[in-house]
């Protein structure tokens, strides 16, 4: 049995590492949501479905075209992002002048369609996807599969890279400016609508990337996104969508908290993030990193 004090420090360290891996998924997904929300003011409810499409993209590339994981890691997000941009151009764009809730509802509907179509085609029990990096390293306190180590390092790199581009480069400064005053930026001769499309594509691409990363670790199934996305929403509410760094830090942080819960009180591991959300709402309604809009 696992009593509170029965856990050796090494085991605890192992669990923290696992939490970090979990947090990597939260971080990438909430980062994508934050990037989209920043410019479009739309909460992308299709995010879960796009995460799933990323995983399926990897599976299809492998099974229909023969492209292995490393190729899919690049190709699948690009393909899903292009589909996302088409959606933005044809459907989402018509709603910008309306209440933001319509964007939420539209993307919710799109999510249902995508999930339904994949279910129809591939069934619900899911498809196998083999681990591209089998084996692992014994760290003494735990056995760390190589693939998991890769996920943490890779997703940290992606998160920091995104943060750098948006906060520290010229392109990023245009983006941030367009978020504040699209009319003014347009007047400076920058094509804001195209920028919006590309941003949406980028956010969607991040979701798909998380999906590709998930494929070898979890079962590739049509429902894999819909459960995850609600947790990610809670992560976003906790962090507030004001800052890119906020999304990243909250994602990893909550992964750690969830990891710890899995050791001390596993029954609550699915609800702990929601409880934290309720507390944060009571104490700091705008979220940890948010500003009241």
């Amino acid at each position: 049995m696992f009593e509170l004090l029965g856990i050796a420090p090494q085991a605890l360290f192992g669990q923290l590492l696992l939490g970090l891996i979990n947090g990597a998924f939260y971080a990438i997904l909430s980062l994508g949501l934050a990037v989209i929300f920043g410019l479009l003011n739309v909460i992308n409810f299709t995010h879960g479905a796009q995460y799933m499409m990323g995983a399926f993209g990897a599976w299809m590339l492998l099974n229909y075209v023969g492209i292995p994981f490393w190729g899919a890691l690049v190709l699948s997000p690009i393909i899903v992002a292009i589909i996302g941009m088409v959606i933005e151009r044809t459907l989402l764009r018509r709603l910008y002048h309306l209440d933001h809730l319509y964007g939420l509802l539209l993307t919710f509907g799109l999510g249902l369609i995508i999930e339904g179509l994949f279910r129809r085609q591939y069934g619900s029990s899911g498809l196998p996807y083999n681990n591209p990096l089998p084996g692992g390293t014994n760290l003494g306190f735990m056995f760390l599969p190589n693939y998991r180590a890769f996920v943490v390092v890779f997703s940290l790199a992606i998160c920091i890279g995104t943060w750098f581009v948006i906060e520290r480069t010229k392109l990023g400064s245009y983006l941030r400016a367009a978020t504040e005053r699209p009319d003014l930026v347009q007047a400076f001769g920058i094509d804001v609508p195209r920028m919006i499309t590309l941003t949406y594509g980028f956010g969607v691409g991040l979701a798909a990337l998380a999906g590709v990363l998930a494929a070898p670790a979890y079962q590739v199934s049509p429902t894999m996104g819909s459960n995850l996305i609600i947790v990610v929403f809670a992560v976003v509410v906790i962090g507030g969508m004001g800052s890119i760094m906020g999304a990243i830090v909250t994602g990893f942080g909550l992964g750690l908290v969830e990891g710890l819960t899995k050791v001390f009180y596993p029954e609550a591991s699915s609800t702990v993030i929601f409880v934290i959300m309720a507390i944060v709402l009571l104490v700091k309604p705008a979220g940890l990193f948010g500003t009241v809009k």
Binding site: I43, L91, L112, I113, G116, I230, F233, A234, V237
Partner: protein, 331 residues
Amino acid sequence: MSTTSSPAALAGGPASTGGVLRLVGAAIALALLIAAPLAIYPVFLMKVLCFALFACAFNLLLGYVGLLSFGHAMFFGGAAYICAHAVKNWGLTPELGILAGVAFAALLGLVAGLLAIRRLGIYFAMVTLALAQMFFFFCLQARFTGGEDGLQGVPRRAVFGLIDITKDLNLYYVVLAIFVIGFAIIYRTIHSPFGQVLKAIRENEPRAISLGYRVNQYKLLAFVLSAALAGLAGATKAIVFQLASLTDVAWQMSGEVILMTLVGGMGTVLGPVVGAGIIVTMQNYLAGFGEWVLVIQGVIFVVVVSLFRRGLVGEVIALFSRQKPGAPAGH
């Protein structure tokens, strides 16, 4: 708390000629509903009525306060569990069981509302969704709900010890009565001074604040009322189907009620009823095409949001008021 929804306000009846017309319309609709089980299978009708009430309760919040709750399943399903548990294991009569369910939903609405109304718009939607998901996990793990099995075999005891509801037809009229009461409460709320303040908040919240209204209290009261009525619908459904299950608290249920309201027309009195009728009928007759239900629902969402944002009833009203510019846009 506000006193605007006082009995005096509720008692005020419609006076204009439009009001008379509305009364006649309501009488015809009621007559149709009373005669309906002669032609249509009563269990199906009861399901439609339960969902219609649920959608109306939801619409009170979305259509008249402008708050999109993505977690109304927790009130609907929570009340269903409490009602089923009370009737099955405590031996309460159905009317007391339903009351227990409503009371629970109202309480849950108070707690969830206190948290959720701290955020606006999209955040409000996400917070309610997350709270409902938390409640879902609670129901899944709690002992009394029976997990995946749900609460089964809720007995249909006589209502008030008088009306035998083991016959579907008798039960139908009980459900119809509950629906009419719930609908009347919503109707009166919308047309009371309280409802006017809610609409003012929807249109321009800063202005309502500057006019001296305690906006958050109004919102909270509306939220609790909506939750309680959703609970009324859920508890009634538990009696009709003699069970309460996880389906009723899952996030998909919250999505379905939004769909019903959107299809029928949010912010219209009749819209949610029509929407519920359409969606429940669709689910019933498409049962053989199970795998397509999700896709079709998604397509309806996209089409309604992109093209018919007013919903069916909303479009009809718009058409009507365009042809007769003098006529009130009425509800």
